[in-house]
Amino acid sequence: MEDLKSFLIEKVLLFESDTLSSDTEKVLGQVRREKPAQPVVYLSSGTSSLIAGSARTYSAIENYISENALEAKLISVGCTGPANFEPLVCVHIPGKNKLFFRNITEEKVEPLLNGVFHNDINEDDLAGQTGTKGFELWPGIPFMDEHPFFSNQKRVVLGNCGCYDPESIEEYIARGGYRSYVKAIRHYTYDEVCDIIEKSGLRGRSGGGYLTGLKWKHALNTNANARYLICNAKESDPGAFTDRTILESDPHRLLEGIAIGAYAIGASNAIIFIRSGSDHARNRLQRAIDSAREFGLFGHDIFSSGYNLDIVIKKEPGAFVCGEETALINTLEGKRGMPQLKPPYPTTAGLFGKPTVINNVETLMNVPLIMQNGPEWFRSLGTENSPGTKVFAVAGKGRMSGVVEVEMGTSIRTILEDIADGIREGKDFKAIQLGGASGSFITSEHLDLTIDFDELRENGIGMGAGGFVIIDENTCMVDLVRYYMEFIRNESCGKCIPCREGTGRMLEILESVIRKPLNEESGTTLERFKGVMQLETIASVMKDTSLCGLGQTAPNPFMSALKNFRDEFEEHIFDRKCRANICRGLRSFSIDVEKCTGCTACASKCPVNAIYGTRLQPFFIVEDKCIGCGICFDICKFSAITVK
């Protein structure tokens, strides 16, 4: 191991020419296990596969190998993307193409490996094979990269994810890693690095789309005796998991991006601000930092370049708003994570009053690639004003889901229809929600818009950080919007009145829309409708007068749903109908006398005692008392409870 380390440092990292000698390449090929002499089994090991049971799959494979005394290796890799294939197992038999198998839970391990090693493969588990030159083809098995989930993607930022062992710095270096960084600190000035990034046109991937190179220059050109680079890995939008997947799958490239960014702005300290709860990601990242330090990549006078760098991880203490940059800085300083008025921008006076650059995880992931391939290469991807790619967490009701990367300029329809393969269970498409709790809805008329900062903005849609939630006809839009509003109301820091009171009032109006009026004649319907009419005013005041992005964008889901799904709001208000049968207050339950056995289960669980009856006789529900909680419906073993 020690030998390999000094080899990698001397023959790769510090090697002056861009092309390595063929002997070196040979060793690197071995580290990458390109032509293994023995079978290698790869298993995805991100959170999403852990949830699908990959830890048990791992032990089962380990046991299989030892029980059969096989000369085979088992390697944990990051996440390849398709969440519904998890746990994803890849088997590489020497000389042949790699084979991918999906949903390999522990009990499937033995038959699977028996099959693979005896050339009797169960087609049901197969996801596909890779097509690598010089390797034997498996006849009749489709290629993985021709699967529509992959063929419509452009995996650049995610290029390493799922391919290598995220805990092996050797493998990362063998894949070309850390060379750009070492070259930058030894041969480029700060300005040169900033220039390259500016020329590439890279824009911040957390949604705002500010030019990264320009941001770096602001910080570099501010006089100070210390500077900071902060990687924002807070990612707390409900339903977002791209940054975390990256941290778990390719921590070293992120570290390289951070290191290059820190160098470019002349900072000796970098901080990764990570979401609490992402323990798996944090552990992997910490291990990556430790091994990079052992390789001498961080520390004092790195490779005699005169540059010093220290990278630390700080765990976020739990507030959505502390992902906002000024709030983030307050949190790091040990204060309440409340946003502050800008200017001054963090690039002038940030952490401890020093110039500070805050960048999103995905933004920084692009940096080593741009340094390696040049700004022109980056500009050749994507569109004129939005070069590069964008990563999304495709979730919700699509047939395929997972972490997806597309070239900018790809249409939303491609992601929905080709990559996600349309809607599950033959249901109808309703909307896509881009951009988390403060994003807006995209309906069928907007599906041909493309992923591009400016095109989306012109159509009133924010790019968002990476949430791409597919919504089908079974979703009640009013309830979904209420959910987002409740989330934001809970997360408002309360510093400014328009946000604090506005989110509260909006939630109140929404709750009244989905509640059944106590008495039909009281004019509450009109009151509720009036509430809805006030919304536009509240929204515009919030947008104009809130201090930070949270308050400014909080009305988005609501306003965009009202615009696109007004009929559903009206149905709730006037007809007291929730077509998706979701809203508790509008559901009415009754008991089918034919099916009811009088078992009393429902009556004993009803929280408001709305169910009456005599044991072993059919029970009945008193409609006026029922609050529509649905417990009786869930609990009845005889399907005797009906919902309307």
Binding site: I51, A52, A83, P238, G239, S276, G318, G334, R336, I471
Partner: protein
């Protein structure tokens, strides 16, 4: 409880304001919650008033001032899990345990917490019970699950 409070505090030699959150986090990780003693000691060490520390700690969601239950449930309430029914799981846990998120039942057995997106959206709703994942959870499974867990606690 494992490490002594003073041992943890001593690690933060310089005792600066920016150490406050990491210090509280470390105490909580070790002891499970922030006791009055922990807050007083931290205050003395950093030269901050206890009200300041309480004010800060209550601003953030992840700090707790009572011990978590023996069985700690985390419910994902991210968008995907919500679309797949996490709301009814939260409602049901609330009804079964009679407590709100962040609280602990009086017998010290249960506590639960709501989090947003655990990263297993495809298998939602997702919950964790003492760190172990359960996917595709249905509200009607909960009474049974809780009963089983109670049994485990009682026979521990």
């Amino acid at each position: 409880m494992s490490t002594d409070l003073d041992t943890i505090i001593k690690k933060y030699k310089q005792g600066k304001r920016e150490d406050l959150i990491p210090l509280l986090q470390e105490i909580q990780e070790d002891q499970g919650f922030l006791s009055e003693e922990a807050i007083v000691k931290t205050g003395t060490f950093l030269g901050l008033s206890t009200t300041k520390i309480y004010g800060l700690a209550t601003f953030y969601d992840k700090f707790r001032f009572i011990p978590a239950g023996k069985i700690q449930i985390k419910i994902c309430h991210g968008t995907s899990c919500f679309l797949n029914g996490s709301q009814s799981i939260i409602n049901r846990i609330k009804e079964e345990t009679g407590i709100n998120p962040g609280q602990t039942t009086r017998d010290g057995n249960f506590s639960y917490e709501i989090v947003s997106c655990m990263g297993g959206c495809n298998n939602g709703p997702v919950i964790t019970v003492n760190g172990e994942f359960h996917s595709h959870v249905k509200a009607e499974q909960l009474p049974e699950l809780i009963k089983k867990l109670k049994y485990v606690i009682d026979n521990d």
